[in-house]
């Protein structure tokens, strides 16, 4: 491969001199030829991606059309798994919980992330500390984060103790063991971690806005809200696309924090599509049905993001 790439430098120079004198046709042809090393840089990662990502994904699609216990050979059943989903109560619960998660986790992390970014965007004394403090949870492993929160949510944990100490003992609760509170209790640590990440994205976006726009609007007498509404928000459109993609993907792949805290329980009350997929595939050993759930997650993530991007591009045109 190296011989092909390097070639003979002297001959190469001569050829280039010659081509400069020749007509435009062959010259254009030569200039569009992709050097083999560039091709290698594209093809090698593509091959790696194809082998470790695309091929397993295609296999996943195939498995979603089978019934498989992970040990025997898979049995082809066509769309049987997808038909079963239509009558599966737990699947319905998981879809609803996932939508709720998307709205609460996604919506709140975008709102609070933007709020934090607006508060902390200006270079003031000590602002670095607050930025670091908000970003710190992103650094921790989510499973470690979940374990800390699990201890806090225990019946005699920090949260209940704090409630007792301020005279709100009547509100103490087995937060993770109650079907009414489990999902919301699990969202909190996920949010706690996500806000710092979204904040950083928005701060980067805010830093990119030309200050002249604000100065001009101040001269024109625009209020703070008007500046935010008519300058900041439109200027953040490209960051919003990134944030939305990140949030949708993170919501649909949210698994570790829920699994570590409640495993989708009690009685499927905090079941997300991802946890249902895992428990169906690896606990109940129904890998065909689990793969079908994975396909649904993929279609949802792809659908939401693609439809948003198409709309965003249309608006840009």
């Amino acid at each position: 491969m190296a011989a092909v790439v390097t070639g003979n430098p002297v001959a190469g120079e001569e050829r280039e001199r010659r081509t400069a004198k020749e007509d435009n046709g062959p010259r254009r042809k030569r200039s569009t030829r992709v050097p083999p090393v560039v091709l290698a840089f594209v093809l090698v990662p593509l091959l790696a991606e194809a082998f470790w990502v695309f091929w397993p994904a295609v296999q996943g699609f195939y498995l979603s059309l089978t019934e498989w216990d992970g040990v025997s050979a898979p049995r082809f059943i066509g769309l049987g798994n997808f038909r079963e989903m239509l009558h599966d109560d737990i699947f319905r619960t998981a879809v609803l919980d996932t939508v709720l998660w998307l709205l609460l986790f996604g919506g709140l992390s975008a709102l609070l992330g933007l709020g934090a970014a607006l508060l902390l965007q200006q270079e003031r004394r000590g602002v670095g500390f607050y930025r670091a403090a908000l970003f710190l949870p992103v650094v921790f492993s989510l499973v470690a984060t979940a374990l800390v929160w699990q201890a806090m949510y225990q019946p005699d944990g920090l949260i209940n103790q704090a409630l007792e100490s301020v005279g709100l003992g009547s509100l103490t609760h087995a937060w993770l063991a109650d079907q009414d509170t489990a999902l919301y209790a699990v969202i909190v640590p996920a949010l706690w971690r996500q806000i710092g990440y979204v904040m950083i994205l928005y701060i980067a976006g805010l830093k990119g806005i030309d200050p002249v726009l604000y100065e001009a609007s101040k001269v024109d007498g625009a209020s703070r809200w008007q500046r935010f509404r008519h300058i900041t928000l439109p200027q953040l459109r490209s960051v919003n696309a990134v944030v939305l993609s990140v949030i949708v993907i993170d919501s649909l792949r949210s698994f570790d924090v829920v699994w570590a805290l409640t495993r989708g329980g009690p009685y499927h009350s905090s079941e997300l599509l991802s946890t249902y997929m895992y428990s169906t595939a690896f606990q109940s050993l129904r890998l065909g049905y689990g793969s079908a759930l994975a396909v649904v997650i993929f279609v949802l993530a792809f659908g939401v993001i693609a439809s948003y991007l198409v709309r965003a591009f249309r608006e840009a045109d």
Binding site: V44, G265, R286
Partner: protein, 428 residues
């Protein structure tokens, strides 16, 4: 001599070549379907991750290494990871050689797919010839091959602290009514009478109550048939189990589904709960000095006409049929079946289990003597919910039972859902 730095193009070409080579070698390795290389240490994959049990396993492996033959390498994996990964281990091209696991229907599910090593010849060796017929039957696959070597078994019972019962002035109950009276007394003293520990990652502990109530009310034969799919979970017989459970429900610790069994054990030791239906494995996490203060009683008799059965799960080892170290693996399994290795394990663990070798000495404590008498006096033995059915049936059971503990009035719909979810597993 100095080497000139490589040019940009050479560097790029070299990097590309290395990448392609790595990719190709990756393809070859991942596509390999051959057996693992022969020779080397026997890999013993263990799910015994409690500190005392892990140490005990290490001592056993070390002692095996001193025997002068093959050597073994212990690989301890967290119990939950081990359980979910087991099918992958056994079906992989390069599997670990030997596994801690369970005999009976759990082993049969793999044996029927030819994934387990046939160790019938081991059962003719002196180390195993003295084992009881019941154990021999438990370790035999439906095809008539021996696939398992049992090493220990343990019992389930209602555990309590002797000092606490003495302080509260209460005694062990024999019947269901006496049990409910005891619960009443403890509740009157401000103690949560029954601890459970079905929260966190151990919701399966709730199955012990279902198992015991079912074998006390409907008998062990019905229980096994139910778990094999020959009866329905929404049958009236199963409903009776929950009617009885409902009588005891007001006495359960309110944190029953909020704490894993390890935390529920702490609550028992600290006297915040009065008693706990649990297997002796919980003692592996109990400080040694407090183990002496532990005692237990038989799960109360509900219907005297029903023969008394007890849960006595057996633990031991099976090996992968794909191992390339068959001779070494069998050497290790033969060693594990000896009285000597089982005594080493019991000495370094909490010592509350019982050895399967007839000549092996148990720890000899009063607790263990009482446990042995409990099992020997039982008309029938069961293993445990997932061991008598399958691991796949455990999640629907966990969901149903935790739901019952929270909303006992919804038992009708709970049982219907439980049956429907289980049917999907039986029906495949």
């Amino acid at each position: 001599m100095t080497t000139p730095p490589p040019g940009r193009r050479q560097f790029l070409a070299g990097t590309g070549a290395v990448g392609a080579a790595a990719l190709l070698s990756g393809c070859v390795t991942s596509g390999s379907t051959g057996k693992s290389e022969s020779g080397g240490d026997v890999t013993l994959q263990s799910n015994l991750s409690a500190p005392q049990a892990k140490t005990a396993m290490q001592k056993v492996v070390e002692d095996f290494g001193k025997q002068g033959g093959a050597k073994a390498k212990l690989n301890t994996v967290a119990a939950e990871t081990f359980r979910t990964q087991l099918p992958t281990y056994l079906t992989s091209a390069n599997p670990p050689d030997l596994y801690t696991w369970y005999p009976g229907s759990v082993a049969e599910s793999y044996a029927s797919k030819d994934l387990l090593l046939d160790v019938s010849d081991l059962w003719t060796k002196p180390e195993l010839t003295g084992y009881s017929d019941a154990l021999s039957k438990l370790c035999t696959s439906a095809a008539g091959k021996k696939v398992f070597v049992p090493t220990t078994y343990y019992w389930w019972g209602v555990f309590y602290r002797k000092s606490n019962f003495a302080k509260w002035g209460v005694d062990e109950p024999k019947t269901w009514d006496e049990f409910l009276d005891l619960c009443d007394t403890l509740k009157g003293k401000g103690v949560a009478p029954i601890g459970l520990g079905a929260g966190g990652n151990t919701p399966w502990v709730a199955s012990s109550w279902f198992d015991y109530l079912n074998i006390r009310i409907n008998g062990a034969a019905y229980h096994r048939e139910l778990l094999a799919g020959k009866h329905r979970f929404d049958d009236p017989e199963v409903r009776k189990v929950f009617d009885r459970w409902g009588e005891a429900l007001p006495y359960f610790d309110p944190n029953s589904t909020a704490l894993p069994f390890q935390d529920a054990t702490t609550a028992l030791l600290q006297g915040r709960t009065g008693m706990m239906l649990i297997g002796t494995f919980f003692a592996d996490s109990v400080p040694k000095e407090q183990v002496e203060d532990l005692d237990f009683f038989r799960f109360p008799v509900i219907d005297p006409k029903v023969p008394v059965a007890e849960e006595a799960p057996t633990d031991g080892y099976f090996a992968s049929a794909r191992t390339s170290r068959e001779t070494e693996v069998k050497e290790l399994m033969r060693y594990l079946a000896t009285a000597e290795s089982q005594e080493i394990y019991l000495k370094h663990s909490s010592g509350t289990a019982l050895p399967t070798h007839p000549d092996a000495k148990d720890s000899g404590t009063a607790l263990v003597k009482k446990g042995r008498a409990l099992i020997e006096g039982a008309a029938e033995l069961t293993q445990y919910f997932n061991r008598d059915s399958s691991d796949a049936l455990q999640p629907p059971a966990d969901a149903a039972l935790t739901r019952f503990l929270a909303k006992p009035k919804e038992i009708g719909s709970i049982l219907t859902t439980w049956q429907r979810e289980s049917q999907k597993i039986w029906g495949r």
